[in-house]
Amino acid sequence: MQIITRYFLNPGRFLQLAKYLQPICAATCFVCFSYGLYLAIWNSPPDYQQGETVRIMYIHVPAAWVGIMIYTAMAIAAGIGLVSRLAMTDIFCVAAAPVGAVLVGLCLITGSIWGRPTWGAWWVWDARLTSVLILFLLYCGYIVLRSSFDDHDRGSRAGAILLIVGVVNIPIVRFSVDWWHTLHQPASVLRSSGSAIAPEMLKPLLVMALAYCFYAAFVVLMRMRAVLLARRIEVAIMQDTGL
């Protein structure tokens, strides 16, 4: 296990691998987005209650899924980083945080636009909305905390502790709709008694989720390469000036 992680978390090898993975992710993302948006806008039925507004779901739900997924991945990477002190885990967290924040922000904004016609309010203080807002604040807190450290070593460990402490919010986001009686509808895709959503709506949703995943992978890879190269430049400058 350790050999595998060491092998793939070698910065040089990562840069080579990312060079091949990045265009693949970009292409898959483009294909999935075009097909998913076609399905979502032209080739799926309107909801019998909500009408055409239900199409916001295809933007809203995958953004939430991928936003939560990125936080979980960051927290796992932070845990590995605290134990193993590998620099790549920190680079992943730094690169992924803004992507996750933007996706959760998108989820909040589209949710608000969706809430206006269906609930009659832009925002309600319900458990799901509040917990997602907390997730957004956690992302912001991490970004601010991480950027206020000049020393990457200290910053990475402080950020890792914050990420790990904040992971308690993830099950709350997931189960808030079951634990409290919320205005937000309960989980309908992933649940033990099988999916409750119509198959012709499920298909565009899953294609869009795939598109979001590959989009996140593409941007995170790109940002990881940039962060890695920026650190190399920092080191080179420090060696040059003899600091």
Partner: protein
């Protein structure tokens, strides 16, 4: 164990003799409470309904004010290094310090609770419920503040950063605490909210010292 109790006594004595800190906390809490009727308008009915939430708001602001100095002062005068060199494990030292801080916060809050409840016209039946939520909630606030204070201890200007980091963790506590007060005001059962607050406290109390210690060690 005896070492721990002596350390605890010592930490409490430091806190009780820190008059400047005491008076600034109490003054700050009072000023927030005094300002609220001016921003909301002085209607007694409105203030009575909002009173538990307003007192909680003042308590949260007060804890944010006191927590940014929690470890910075120790780091500056070198007592943090002494803490780390102590024969007791660092989490135990941290636990004693945090308990003393909780004691001071609660004492400051409870001295001002009754005057504040008069000022805002709080229903006297709600006072015990409010006191109970503060008793269960404020230690959680202090311990969470300790965690964030520990990871930002090397940044010397961390007050605003600390607020950003703490607010997401404070929101659930505020929700359950004011939920209990609202339930009591409407005559419903307050048990579930109090149990949730207690559950959060019993989760945070044993785990936070270890997190704080690991946060301090990286500095």
């Amino acid at each position: 164990m005896r070492c721990f109790f002596r350390l605890l006594c010592y930490d409490f004595r430091i806190q009780t003799r820190n008059r400047a800190e005491w008076s600034s906390l109490i003054l700050f809490f009072t000023i927030v409470i005094l300002l609220l009727p001016f921003t909301l308008g002085p209607e007694p009915e409105l203030l009575r309904r909002l009173a538990p939430g307003l007192i909680w708001l003042a308590a949260i602001l007060m804890s944010l004010l006191s927590l940014d100095r929690l470890f910075i002062q120790d780091a500056r005068d070198g007592s943090l290094d002494v803490m780390m060199l102590s024969i007791l494990p660092l989490p135990v030292v941290v636990l004693s310090k945090m308990l003393a801080q909780c004691g001071m916060m609660l004492a400051a809050l409870f001295t001002m609770l009754i005057p504040a409840s008069f000022l805002l016209g709080l229903d006297s039946a709600l006072l015990p419920v409010l006191a109970l939520t503060l008793l269960l909630g404020v230690p959680t606030l202090v311990f969470l503040g300790g965690v964030m204070g520990a990871i930002t201890v090397t940044l010397h200007r961390n007050a605003s950063l600390l607020t950003v980091l703490l607010v997401p963790f404070y929101i659930p506590i505020m929700i359950f605490a004011t939920g209990a007060c609202d339930a009591a005001a409407m005559g419903a059962s307050i048990q579930s909210n109090l149990l949730l607050l207690g559950a959060i406290l019993s989760l945070v109390l044993p785990s936070a010292p270890f997190v704080i210690a690991s946060g301090l060690r990286q500095g």
